[in-house]
Amino acid sequence: MSPTLAYQFNRLLRGSVPFAITVLLALMSVVPIGIAGYAIVTPSFVAISVFYWSIHRPYLMAPPICFVLGLLSDCLTGAPLGLSSFLYLMIHAIAVSQRRIFIGKAFVLTWFGFFLIGFLIAILSWIIVCLYSLALLPLTPILVQYALSLLVFPLFAWGFGLLQNNLLRLT
């Protein structure tokens, strides 16, 4: 019995939820909030999303999707084109290779995983941007952004978890 068109469409819609929500987060992260210095240290919501979905639904956050999300982020923020794509792909690769450790374990472990990977990515991004612009950039904003991302991670993980349980149980 082949699934009906409506069922397939439903599945497609549900399957695109992680992508859609990440696009929305990418847009939200550049909306001016009006807090002093916030623009520079805006938590990287997209990285959180890529990390979470790469662990819990890796096939809905496949490498091409990570790549497109990176391009979108770079276009929005004005960062060197390809930088975020590279970083998100790295996050995806690391998360997927280690997902057995995180799946079905306590949330704290996932958080700790983000703590490690986030730090790695922050340093990596700093090195790449320094090389790209051939200048020594201040490291502090990048570390502050990392710390803020780490702080808001549980909130987002909780929200994604709700989505996953309600919308994506079948996919």
Partner: protein, 297 residues
Amino acid sequence: MAPRQGKVFKLAWPLKTIIQRSAFLALISLAIALLFIGKANIGVVEKMRTSATDFLAPILATISEPVDAFHKGVARVQKFTSLIEENERLREENARLLKWQAAGRTLEQENENFRQLLNALSDPLVLPITARVVGDAGGPFVRTLLLNSGRRDGVRVGQAVVAPLGLVGRIADVGERSARVLLLTDLNSRIPVVMEKSRHKGILIGDNSSMPLLDFLPTNAKVAPGDRVVTSGDGGMLPAGRPIGFVSSISDRGIRVQAFADWTRLEYVSVLRYDLPGMSSPDMNPGDLGESRLDAK
């Protein structure tokens, strides 16, 4: 049927992983290639980026609308609590400014008379385009803003962007209906400036820190903290004499300038359409040559 299917699956499985792996590697290489292409400043990448921002700017404008409304609401409530004091303060300020206005008018007239005596050319009129800020950098790597005005509104690459208190930056990329502002704190920002009092010229260099560096001043220039820095107008793209900031610290590692612009409240900015007749080509700054000569009489 079932065992055969299993066999195919067993065979296909490594193939699938190989394809997946190679796709991943291809995408990583593509990302790195994009970085190199972007560094080489190839037009295609710029075009892609501006068309993307063109598409995204209206969406961002819509999203930022409720955020702006919320801010306005909060500001309104805050103002209510200090209405009387604020009114009193503004009354005093108004009285003081009226005196300044009278002084300013006299000086302007006097200046005009001197100019006519010397037959000096006056600067062309600067026409501002008011644009809404729909996006900020949203990350630690660049200091930029996204505006929802573009080529069709007269915005061109290189034009100055000012906020009520002072210069913010310059236009770096222009799409049809969106533009990207390179803030003067960005790593790639270089702005010709002059010390307001001593008239020493220098270059304001952004380095992604909150306070840009003032460099290339003459060696005999005397600089003290608090000295005002304004645009020099060198290069013909920025109008001269626009306030930028003041010298905040002087050390062995350079002179730092604190900008006047209030970075947290950049809701609307003015893009200055400015051209020195004969200095900029109509292609670079079209549409306003006639208008900016309005005051040339």
